[in-house]
Amino acid sequence: MKDTIPADMPPAEDIVLSTQNLTKHYRVGGGGFGKSARVVRAVDGVTLDIRARETFALVGESGCGKTTLGRIMLRLQEPSSGTINYRGTELTTQGEAEMRALRKKLQIVFQDPYASLNPRMRVEEILAEPLRSHGFGTAADIRDRCAELLEMVGLRKQYLRNYPHQFSGGQRQRIGIARALANKPDFVVCDESVSALDVSIQAQVLNLLMDLQDQLQLTYFFITHDLAVVRQFATRVGVMFLGRLVEVATTEDLFAQPLHPYSMLLMSAVPRPDPRLRGQERPMMQGEIPSPMNLPSGCRFHTRCPFARDICRIEDPALQDRGGRAVACHFPLDG
């Protein structure tokens, strides 16, 4: 399946969603009693284009701002600055009602299938709600559509009358997917959508997501920390570190040759199943991740980078185009 993707990949200008300099800063601690309010830069200037029908994977370690980026792209949280353009519509300036209407096309599948379904609602009500919010049709239409959605994600329509707690994690996640797809969306953020599931169930749910992408022409923004999943399913990958994108490349290119030292270290940190490779020298990340409240000067990765030089401590590298991919580093690894 993956081999066929480059062939029918849409032209680069067919962009679903693009962000310009998107930031999200949180103020922590009050400014009272001589203490100045400190600012966490959860997302710090992200510029990104998501192409139609691709699976864009966003990787990075915990706390780097992946989830926040996914949330502000859908305006589930308000960005502090920057713009989000969805097929020519600027999302950041939309009013409450306009934004609600746009949500029909912009969806999200959450991480925790136990927290993302209202425990007091039956499956039918859960699936009917997005339909009702966007005026899907008569009560009978809605009922039929709910049954159709449930079968689309591989569950029996008899389950419509049941409550979430009666299902397993994998089944719940399927319900969450059905809810996200109720109004035939265009762009779907998958926020660690399979991380909470058993490995065997993960594969099934991923396969389901990929099948649905083909059927419904979906574009995925896939937030994850699992590089094996990325390698298998993603078209392109963005590597995020402390609120910034440090590298954006096609999956093939990235896994063939990461250009940013952080990408390289992230990939080398994946445990290798082959015992013959055990004990082999691998470059390791040094030190702790810097606090996003107190970012280092210059390149924010220099404190942990094995290749850091003087300029890295002074000058913050911008994300620059480099032969069809982009990297934010003074000394990219291809020389």
Partner: protein, 294 residues
């Protein structure tokens, strides 16, 4: 399509059984069941008091003042020769109504304001919570007494006074729950679906607050009974010759040494009823907590 081995589940799952689970857990709690039986008996006795009691609660018989307990007057008579047990049964009517109605009013007001305050935040939250703070900071008994003095002592004003005093604490509890709930992913999912704010507040958050409300309700009934008793005891509540438990205690205390049952018997009725409601409340709290099940 995809491999579906994880859903090789039965044809249809058992119809959801939240209510049945709750009832089962509740019925296993002995104290709660005793409380429930007591309250049900009391409600029936109060409702059918004219058929149960052979005596007239308002008939004055000055030749039968302060009689001790006998087979005719099971708990003796008061200073007007009226049967104490009959007066307690009739008093239960007012005391129960005063327990339930203001609780419902303050629950309704407190729930709406608490959800609005917690979900909308900002200025709404500030205004509602400062109002609630004022209510809580002000001595409630004094406030209720002022209301009763100004508006006059009748049942409707008792409802009003008690609801005025009671909504603030309900609003605070509901607001706290709303704050916790609005961070849940299913609320975010509803927002992501384009669900309206009012539907999120009253379609998603409200059903998840109901268990708390039931418990608050069962705990606020005894509180309201106590409030009414206090107000009547102080002379601004129910007026004679009507009987409420607080009033019976207040009037009976003057004859404490000649006929102790006149004051003590309604006191015991208050005590038992308050305890019964508290046991029910505890039982409900446990039964409605999903973590106590499974």
């Amino acid at each position: 399509m995809t491999d579906m081995s994880d859903i090789a589940a039965p044809e249809a799952l058992e119809e959801a059984s939240f209510l049945r689970d709750t009832l089962r857990t509740f019925s296993r709690n002995r104290m709660a069941m005793i409380g429930l039986i007591f309250v049900v008996t009391l409600v029936l006795a109060a409702a059918f008091a004219p058929w149960i009691s052979p005596h007239d609660p308002y008939r004055v018989a000055l030749d039968e003042q302060l009689l001790p307990a006998s087979t005719t007057y099971w708990l003796g008579t008061d200073n007007f020769g009226r049967d104490v047990l009959t007066r307690i049964l009739y008093g239960a009517r007012i005391s129960l109504v005063v327990g339930i109605v203001p609780s419902l009013i303050s629950l309704a007001i407190g729930t709406v304001l608490g959800i609005l305050s917690g979900y909308l935040g900002g200025r709404t939250d500030f205004v509602v919570m400062r109002l609630a703070d004022m209510m809580i900071a002000f001595p409630s008994l004094l406030l209720a007494m002022v209301v009763m003095y100004t508006l006059g002592a009748n049942l409707l004003n008792i409802f009003f006074a008690l609801a005025l005093v009671g909504w603030a604490s309900v609003a605070r509890v509901v607001r706290a729950q709303t704050l916790a709930l609005r961070e849940k992913e299913f609320i975010e999912a509803a927002r992501a679906n384009g669900t309206s704010r009012s539907r999120i507040m009253f379609g998603h958050i409200f059903p998840n607050v109901i268990p708390t409300l039931i418990v608050l309700f069962s705990l606020s009934i005894p509180e309201a009974i106590m409030w009414e008793s206090s107000l009547s005891f102080l002379g601004v509540g129910v007026q004679p010759p009507e009987a409420s438990w607080g009033l019976l205690v207040a009037k009976g205390k003057e004859y404490m040494f000649q006929a102790p049952a006149v004051a003590i018997a309604p006191g015991v009725a208050i005590l038992l009823t308050v305890m019964a409601f508290n046991f029910i409340g505890d039982g409900l709290r446990d039964a409605l907590d999903p973590s106590m099940k499974d």
